[in-house]
């Protein structure tokens, strides 16, 4: 597999990959698949029209992982990729996605990953997605991911999504539909700086009795960046939902948080929380009394907050 040092660095950032991953994987670089491995239980096939891949995981697959990182190091490349995950029943798997863009040129680079998850009964999926941008060109690094999750009875999906550095513009959409007893947990971490814009939209429909969702976003907006967090949980059954947006603003950063709840069933219990503010002066002073400079204290507080 031929990857250059920039691509290697991007892979490390988005998927913690230092080497070829174990288990099933598909590595995509500059618009092409450059490496793929399937296992007895996990199959990866290119879609006939070339628009993406289908990942099929057999019933009862446990303790296996799928890595599907994407790296872009060519300036001016724009692509939309459809990745569909068909996860059987009674599985327990880890899926690691993520996209890193290095843009040293003056043309915009953009990757839109459309991920659809069909999660079978009683399966548990852990999904980790990191986005990262680097490069000092004037071309923008743009990521507009769409994640759709369809959960069957008793399934659990835990999503961890992080975008900490270097992505100029992002519009992230996550849609989920949950049947009876299904559970969705989302942990989103976002940091924007410079003039970046980030929009994160969630719509979670709790359609089955006993279903639950917990969507928590922690974000930091620095410099003149702007973020909008728009999370809606719809309770259509006897369900429980919680959404939380906790944000730190710095410099001239701006954040709009729009948590919303829609209860269409008398037994739906839904809660939302949102808090935005700058770093508390006492927190800085406390860490300074432990010997940190103000800048070091700020960094520790942010690192902890986004951990």
């Amino acid at each position: 597999m031929n990857i250059d040092t920039i691509q290697q660095r991007l892979l490390e950032e988005v998927a913690d990959l230092h080497d070829v991953p174990e288990g099933a994987y598909n590595l995509r670089a500059n618009g092409k698949s450059i490496g793929r491995n399937t296992t007895a239980n996990i199959d990866i096939q290119s879609k006939p029209d070339g628009s993406g891949i289908d990942i099929r995981i057999k019933d009862g697959t446990t303790n296996e992982s799928v890595h599907i990182p994407v790296v872009l190091s060519e300036s001016g490349l724009k692509e939309t990729v459809y990745n569909d995950f068909f996860i059987g029943e009674n599985c327990d798997v880890l899926i690691v996605a993520g996209c890193g863009i290095d843009n040293c040129g003056n043309q915009d680079s953009q990757h839109n990953g459309i991920h659809r998850f069909y999660v079978g009964k009683n399966s548990r999926v852990r999904y980790v997605e990191k986005h990262y941008g680097s490069g000092d060109g004037s071309g923008k690094r743009i990521l507009d991911p769409v994640t759709e999750v369809y959960q069957e009875e008793g399934s659990t999906v835990e999503m961890e999504m992080a975008q900490i550095k270097g992505v100029d513009s992002t519009e992230r959409t996550t849609l989920a539909e949950l049947k009876e007893g299904a559970k969705l947990v989302v942990r989103e971490r976002l940091m924007t700086h410079g003039e970046q814009h980030a929009l994160s939209v969630y719509k979670v429909c709790l359609n089955g009795d006993g279903s639950s969702a917990d969507v928590v976003s922690r974000s930091v907006a620095r410099d003149t960046s702007y973020q909008k967090f728009d999370a809606c949980i719809v309770g259509n059954a006897a369900c429980s939902g919680h959404t939380e947006c906790d944000s730190i603003i710095m410099d001239s950063g701006r954040i709009l948080a729009v948590p919303s709840l829609e209860a269409n069933n008398i037994d739906a219990a839904l809660v939302h929380e949102a808090a935005i503010g700058k770093i508390a002066g006492d927190q800085l002073i406390k860490l300074m009394t432990l010997g940190l400079t103000e800048a070091e204290a700020e960094e520790q507080i942010i690192n902890g907050f986004l951990k």
């Binding site: 922690r218 009394t289 432990l290 010997g291 940190l292 400079t293 103000e294 902890g304």
Partner: protein, 242 residues
């Protein structure tokens, strides 16, 4: 040794200038356990914050171990060996007890070293080491973690601002034990506590009574305590709960 030379601190408010600390001069010798007591609003906490560098002096001079630290920042004073425990410990979303102890010690101390500090303040290390220093911790737990950060720093001068504030009786008893232990430890450490708790005054080498921004009395425990016992300057633990 800490020397305060003619220090004053004023704030400008709507009524004009208010003097919080008025021309105080004071020497805190090395390896002593000194307690500053006095009525609420008398300037005790402000004095502690002036020593830590949280507020700048309006006038006067602070000398620590022979160096004039009047214009030194909080960070510089901390690095010279001054520790400060807050009256209301600060909460952090995301920072764990281990993170905080590592920041305090200034190095990536091992988990077992961090656990030692927690054990010293009477916390079961295993249960706390990975806990976030957030609102899930009680006032008493936070207070003990706050003290553990001072222990982890191994400071020359530890300033505690009303360590008993906001904790229950059970935690208070533990707190006294921790102070007694610190007092007995052979470490080269000066402890300055702001408190009007009789039991803390009882283990002091020296007591300073501060009222209306001035020193009212100062001397050894035996000289001062009999005069103030039973007054608001040296109250029993239960009077606080009433």
């Amino acid at each position: 040794m800490l020397e305060l030379n003619n220090i004053s601190f004023n704030i400008d408010d709507s009524d004009g200038k208010t003097e919080i600390i008025r021309d105080i001069s004071l020497v805190v010798p090395d390896n002593k356990f000194v307690v500053i007591t006095g009525p609420n609003g008398g300037g005790k906490s402000t004095l502690a914050r002036l020593i830590a560098g949280i507020h700048p002096l309006s006038s006067g001079q602070i000398v620590f171990d022979g160096t004039d630290i009047t214009d030194k920042s909080i960070t510089e004073r901390a690095r010279m060996g001054i520790g400060f425990a807050f009256q209301q410990p600060v909460r952090f979303k995301g920072l764990t007890v281990l993170d905080l102890l590592r920041i305090a010690s200034g190095s990536r101390i091992s988990v077992s070293e961090a656990c030692d500090y927690l054990s010293e303040v009477g916390l079961c290390a295993k249960e706390y080491i990975d806990r976030e220093v957030n609102s899930s911790l009680s006032g008493g737990e936070l207070k003990r973690i706050e003290i553990a950060t001072i222990l982890a720093r191994d400071v020359k001068l530890a300033v505690f601002d009303e360590p008993e504030a906001g904790i229950d009786l059970w935690s208070f008893n533990n707190l006294i034990r921790i102070f007694e232990k610190m007092r007995q430890s052979s470490k080269n450490r000066t402890i300055l506590v702001i408190s009007h708790q009789e039991r803390i005054l009882n283990i002091a080498d020296e007591i300073i009574v501060l009222a209306d921004g001035k020193i009212l009395k100062q001397g050894s425990r035996d000289a001062i305590l009999p005069d103030i016992i039973g007054t608001q300057y040296a109250s029993g633990v239960c009077s606080r709960m009433e």
